[in-house]
């Protein structure tokens, strides 16, 4: 039993025992926590960086594939255009012969010959057409025989197919239906029905009636033109020429190469005594924006968009002093705003301007009115859209609000003007991508990963603090398309 008693007596001896640690322990804890929070922010920023990089890479890949496909199609089109140009002189003949005999090496000679002969025959057909046009109906039947005899005589050495084609043309010509030139060209490449390629066609077309095939072709041509007009009208209705959008974006920001070098024009002593200028300029935090945008298409691929956005950037830092005013009757948080207002004195601590206190957290919220103008390039413009954006933004500083957390210090707000350490007008470079999905004829929803890089320090030049917070954000936009 004595053993248990011995152990219990030790346990009881330490019950309620307390020893105060030194002040440096809490400072160490605070530094560790700040470091951990910084790491967390950096990881979050890395995520946004990776997302932006991935989206740009993806966009470039799509652009590359798109370029290859478009260039290949262009080449094919050009080739076809060239071959069509060659056959334009020979009209119907060559296409059919190429279609039948292109695999045979010896056929090329025959093809050339047939080209020449078909040119002759076509000229003759044209003559016949003209003749028919001037003749009245009863004379049509009489014209048939000489034309047929001409074609059979001149094209006796050609392939039977060619002969039949000529016959077809004769029939069309003699039937009194004059197909427009465009219609004849349009159907030149089409394979002819078996009826026309037969050596001795059984079906004889009544000379008094129009050729049903030609009538059908004419009807089809008219229908096709009507559908083309409808398609064009529908495309025009669906085209996204002008749109407006509302959006919200959230992300993080961190300063790139911040530096503090207080100049003689501001309160250099107070700035040097305090660590806040350094902390405030280096602080990373969260940013969000919301606003309305308007966009317009300049060409098939290029567009321009601009708008008006409300931008808010919020960051935290730890202050270890307060700024005493009115002979220690009022105290304010230690911020660049307040430090900059302190009188030029030899020692900010000695004069009471800066008074050490327990560490406390301060939140600095900076608000801007942003007017972005961006050019965009559409990589994909279908139901799913993908575009690259780049441009500049004019950011008008509105105010910054200092909120000391959990203390008895008051929240202060400083607007733009001479008293503010922030520049009234800032410029930022913008870059990003936009993944969108169209639903309905009027709406499109888009996801926008983007980057905002300030082109100048957000602080005034005479403050001596360089801070260019780079923002990575992810936005969601809802677009309404005007027709």
């Amino acid at each position: 039993m004595e053993r248990r008693k011995f152990e219990d007596s030790f346990k009881e001896a330490f019950n309620g025992a307390e020893v105060a640690p030194s002040d440096s322990v809490w400072t160490g804890i605070e530094l560790e926590l700040e470091k951990a929070e910084g790491d967390k922010t950096r990881r979050r920023l890395l995520f946004y960086k990776m997302l932006a990089a991935a989206s740009v890479t993806f966009a470039m890949c799509v652009a590359g594939v798109g370029y290859l496909v478009v260039s290949h199609q262009q080449e094919t089109f050009n080739e076809r255009l060239t071959s069509t140009g060659e056959t334009a002189e020979t009209k119907n003949g060559e296409a059919v012969i190429h279609g039948i005999e292109s695999d045979d090496a010896s056929s090329s000679v025959a093809a050339r010959e047939s080209n020449e002969s078909s040119e002759n025959s076509n000229n003759r057909i044209a003559e016949v057409n003209r003749a028919n046009a001037t003749n009245d109906a009863p004379s049509r039947g009489t014209n048939h025989e000489p034309v047929q005899s001409i074609s059979k005589t001149d094209l006796a050495s050609e392939a039977n197919v060619q002969e039949n084609i000529v016959m077809d043309n004769e029939n069309v010509a003699t039937s009194g239906i004059l197909l427009p030139e465009t219609v004849q060209d349009k159907y030149a490449d089409r394979a002819l029905p078996l009826f026309y390629s037969a050596r001795s066609p059984q079906l004889k077309v009544d000379q008094d009636k129009p050729d049903p095939g030609a009538v059908l072709l004419a009807k089809l041509a008219a229908e096709e033109q009507a559908y083309a007009r409808l398609d064009k009208r529908e495309k025009e209705q669906k085209a996204e020429r002008l749109w407006t959008s509302v959006g919200f974006a959230a992300g993080g920001f961190s300063s790139v190469n911040p530096s503090v070098s207080p100049t003689a024009t501001n309160n250099m002593i107070a700035m040097s005594n305090s660590t806040v200028p350094d902390k405030q300029s280096k602080a990373a935090g969260v940013a969000y924006s919301m606003g309305v945008n308007v966009g317009a298409k300049l060409s098939k691929r290029w567009l321009i968009q601009g708008g008006l956005n409300y931008l808010s950037q919020s960051s935290d830092y730890i202050a270890t002093n307060v700024v005493a005013e009115n002979n220690y009757t009022t105290f304010k948080s230690e911020t660049v705003n307040e430090l900059n207002k302190l009188p030029q004195i030899a020692d900010a601590y000695a004069s009471g301007g800066l008074t050490p206190t327990v560490p406390y957290s301060v939140n600095n919220n900076v608000k801007f009115l942003s007017v972005p103008v961006q050019a965009g390039y559409l990589l994909v413009n279908q139901k799913f859209g993908l575009q690259l954006n780049a441009g500049v933004s004019t950011d008008l500083f509105l105010q910054n609000t200092i909120t000391p957390e959990g203390g008895s210090l008051d929240k202060t707000t400083q607007g733009r003007g001479e008293d503010s350490p922030y520049r009234s007008v800032n410029f930022s470079g913008l870059m990003g991508t936009e993944f969108s999905y169209r639903f309905g004829t009027h709406y499109r929803v888009a996801l926008n990963p983007g980057l905002r890089y300030p082109l100048n320090s957000v602080y005034k030049e005479d403050i001596g603090i360089q801070s260019t917070p780079v923002t990575f954000d992810l936005g969601l936009r809802f677009r309404y398309i005007f027709h």
Partner: protein, 194 residues
């Protein structure tokens, strides 16, 4: 955010936990102020110097603030914090134990007279514990003060149960010798001295 200073002792345990879960620095400071003195005693028992104990307190509280989101409030807050401090201290001491491994101690002679801690203050007891050899100090704390069994201690420290028992016996023997010495001095002069 409420106005005015946050007075730690006016807050309930739940309010403190909620504030710390949100990461508010003032609530973290209030929690630290409430428990730091008690936790330093815990860490002093596991360390050789005050600086070492303060390092453990610092590391332990960082873990507390980072892990408080996962604290399910199934035990008291101070019990949970104490456990974190002990684990942190053990992590620090394990490195030393790797360099100076514990060995079984034979032939422990325990004094037969009754032990009494009367007249010995906490500071002296702490000094006695901290003067013990590394292995004895840890095993004694875990067994006598924290209330772990030898089996649990063996698992925690990666030693055999027998080693734990022998280390405790050695610690007890050394402490008893010191206590007897102090008690004699106290009886004689009315004031303890080490």
């Amino acid at each position: 955010m409420e106005k005015g200073p946050i007075i730690g002792y006016m807050l309930s345990e739940n309010e403190l936990i909620e504030g710390c879960r949100k990461g508010t620095r003032a609530f973290q400071k209030a929690l630290y102020d409430r428990y730091c003195r008690k936790m330093l005693v815990v860490c002093l028992r596991y360390s050789k110097t005050t600086a070492e104990a303060e390092d453990i307190v610092q590391e332990g509280f960082v873990k507390v603030f980072q892990g408080i989101k996962d604290f399910r409030q199934e035990s008291r807050l101070d019990t949970w914090i104490t456990r974190i401090m002990v684990n942190t201290a053990l992590n620090v001491q394990r490195k030393k134990l790797y360099l100076y491994p514990m060995v079984d101690v034979t032939e422990i002679v325990l004094p037969e007279e009754e032990m009494s801690l009367s007249g010995i203050n906490v500071s002296q007891l702490l000094d006695m514990i901290r003067s013990l050899p590394q292995g004895c100090q840890i095993v004694f704390n875990l067994f006598a003060v924290e209330g772990y069994s030898h089996k649990e201690i063996a698992e925690m420290l990666g030693i055999s149960e027998g080693t734990s028992k022998s280390q405790f016996a050695r610690a007890k023997s050394l402490l008893q010798a010191k206590i007897i010495k102090e008690s004699t001095y106290y009886d004689r002069y009315g004031e303890a001295k080490i």
